[in-house]
């Protein structure tokens, strides 16, 4: 058994896995790593299952004391991580020694880093997942939905065996202009022509009032003149447009049903990309076909196996 001791945290770092499924009809949200691609790669680097439980660290401010000699993997945002003062770049595995300190400072690119350990961090399965959802009191270290706290101990049972190296072309460049792919939905015809033009041609800014439930986009509002909607299930990445005309992209911790019209849903890859955008970052939306999005998704999942 090995462990990491939490010496410092801002209260945002949480244990996350692939999320909670098969319970959406009970009003239970999905949860899970916001950047599921970074989670998958962190686990792949150590030979774990792609959805094994890892630590999601938004924005930094976390210090961990290593209580064993082992290998860890870091992906996602570059939070200027240091191991005993030596820089640890993301998108690779690295060895740590008992007594060393791993410190996450502040973002240099991206927003959320993912730290994986051999075999995944141990946490109780609550409704089939360890995903932390504070609002619902589910998941996390003791199962009650708490984010990480100081003096928490992250335990993992796996052994550091042979590790892998990221294929370079797979490492995302967060500095590039962001074009998010949207699969148009059934209500798209209910938006006025001018609004549809704006939706796909204006630059949207990430509103700071964004969280694990939804990421808000700021720009010139869109107008919907279609039929009002009766509340219905909401898929991951749904781009809903409330009466103020400003879209909200619904993320992992979204409510399970809702009644605002939707432009459609982002592809899962674009959902992952969006979660690495900081407040005030600029993005554009582009329409994409379902078939292409499915093929790309399957190609990535197959690669991990």
């Amino acid at each position: 058994m090995s462990s990491l001791l939490v010496e410092r945290t801002l209260g945002l770092a949480q244990l996350q896995d692939g999320g909670r499924f098969g319970v959406r009809h009970l009003g239970v949200t999905q949860g899970g790593a916001l950047d599921w691609i970074a989670l998958g790669w962190a686990n792949w680097l150590l030979g774990n299952a792609p959805t094994a439980c890892a630590l999601e660290i938004p924005l930094g401010g976390v210090t961990l004391l290593c209580e064993a000699d082992t290998t860890l993997a870091l992906t996602g945002a570059d939070l200027a991580a240091m191991l005993d003062g030596k820089t640890i770049a993301p998108w690779r595995s690295f060895t740590v020694r008992h007594g060393q300190r791993l410190q996450f400072n502040s973002p240099r690119s991206g927003v959320r880093a993912y730290l994986a350990a051999p075999g995944g961090f141990s946490a109780p399965q609550v409704l089939g997942s360890a995903a932390t959802v504070t609002r619902e009191g589910l998941g996390g270290l003791d199962g009650s939905g708490q984010a990480l706290r100081r003096d928490d101990r992250l335990v993992f049972e796996g052994m550091a065996s042979s590790t892998r190296t990221m294929p370079k072309q797979r490492i995302p460049a967060y500095s590039q202009a962001v074009r998010l792919e949207l699969i148009p939905g059934a209500q798209i015809a209910g938006f006025t022509g001018e609004s549809l033009f704006r939706a796909f041609n204006q630059v949207w800014r990430i509103d700071p009032r964004s969280d694990r439930m939804g990421i808000r986009l700021a720009g010139t509002p869109l107008g919907y003149s279609g039929e009002p909607l009766i509340s219905e299930g909401i898929p991951l990445g749904a781009v809903q447009v409330p009466p103020d005309g400003l879209p909200i992209v619904l993320m992992n911790d979204r409510q399970t049903i809702g009644g605002y019209p939707r432009l459609g849903a982002l592809t899962p890859a674009s959902v992952a990309r969006l979660t690495q955008c900081a407040a005030e970052d600029e993005i554009r939306l582009m329409a994409v076909g379902q078939g292409k999005a499915r093929e790309e998704l399957i190609a990535l999942l197959d690669w991990w196996e």
């Binding site: 009809h25 939905g185 749904a238």
Partner: protein, 235 residues
């Protein structure tokens, strides 16, 4: 009933069966859910019933969208509504109706022109359908409430609604399984544990269940394990 299938996401289809919210929709939606679960088996990831729809999230590695649509047509061909005795379970849910735990009783009385006792009588005099679960784990949207009781949500939601609070908004009623923010009108509190991660099925109320609220006195409420801490005024 109609059958309209819409793409909701790369791996999710929206099955639209009705255009309006009606209690009579539920036996059809439940029957459809049963057939879809059977048809899809382990290719189904989540199936979310709501008032007029079922959202179906399938495993895109096992099947493409075209096949998923075919599965849906196969599953729903010749669909018959579930007979009432199979359409969910019936629950009697004890409620202590009192201004201390139902601070909006007076507001409802004012809005509707009914006495508080009439508000309580009307609320507890109907067997409600559970239309959908959402908002929070185990939070059941039930209806339809007597038109005379329909009242808008609070202009400013409370920051904290205590667990067990029984509430009204428009023509729906619900009970809060966990303490959470909320903008519905609070009329009372139930001691019933609505969401329990150790219970089989987790949620006391499931889509399609029928619910009758039963008024109880304070002593009975406490005996049943209810927490009678008043809703604090500043929340």
């Amino acid at each position: 009933m109609k059958l309209q299938i819409e793409r909701a996401a790369v791996d999710t289809l929206m099955i639209r069966l009705f255009d309006r919210i009606e209690e009579g929709n539920m036996p059809w939606l439940l029957a459809a859910a049963q057939q879809l679960r059977r048809q899809f088996g382990d290719q189904l990831i989540d199936l979310v019933p709501s008032y007029t729809t079922l959202m179906l999230h399938y495993d895109l590695r096992q099947l493409d969208e075209h096949t998923a649509r075919e599965h849906i047509f196969t599953a729903l061909a010749g669909l018959q509504p579930l007979p009432p005795e199979h359409a969910g379970r019936k629950h009697e849910i004890a409620v202590w109706y009192d201004p201390s735990v139902g601070p909006d009783l007076q507001r409802l009385s004012g809005l509707t022109g009914l006495e508080v006792s009439q508000v309580i009588a009307l609320h507890s005099d109907h067997e409600y359908q559970v239309f959908a679960l959402g908002f929070a784990p185990g939070f059941a949207y039930m209806g339809l409430l007597d038109e005379r009781l329909a009242a808008p949500r609070l202009a400013t939601p409370r920051k904290r609604v205590p667990a067990g609070s029984v509430a009204i908004a428009e023509r729906q009623t619900a009970a809060y399984p966990l303490a959470s923010p909320g903008g519905w009108n609070l009329v009372g509190r139930t001691p019933a544990p609505l969401f329990d991660r150790d219970r089989d099925g987790y949620s006391l109320l499931q889509p399609g269940d029928r619910v009758q609220f039963v008024p109880v006195e304070h002593a009975e409420f406490v005996r049943l394990g209810g927490d009678d801490t008043p809703v604090s005024g500043d929340t």
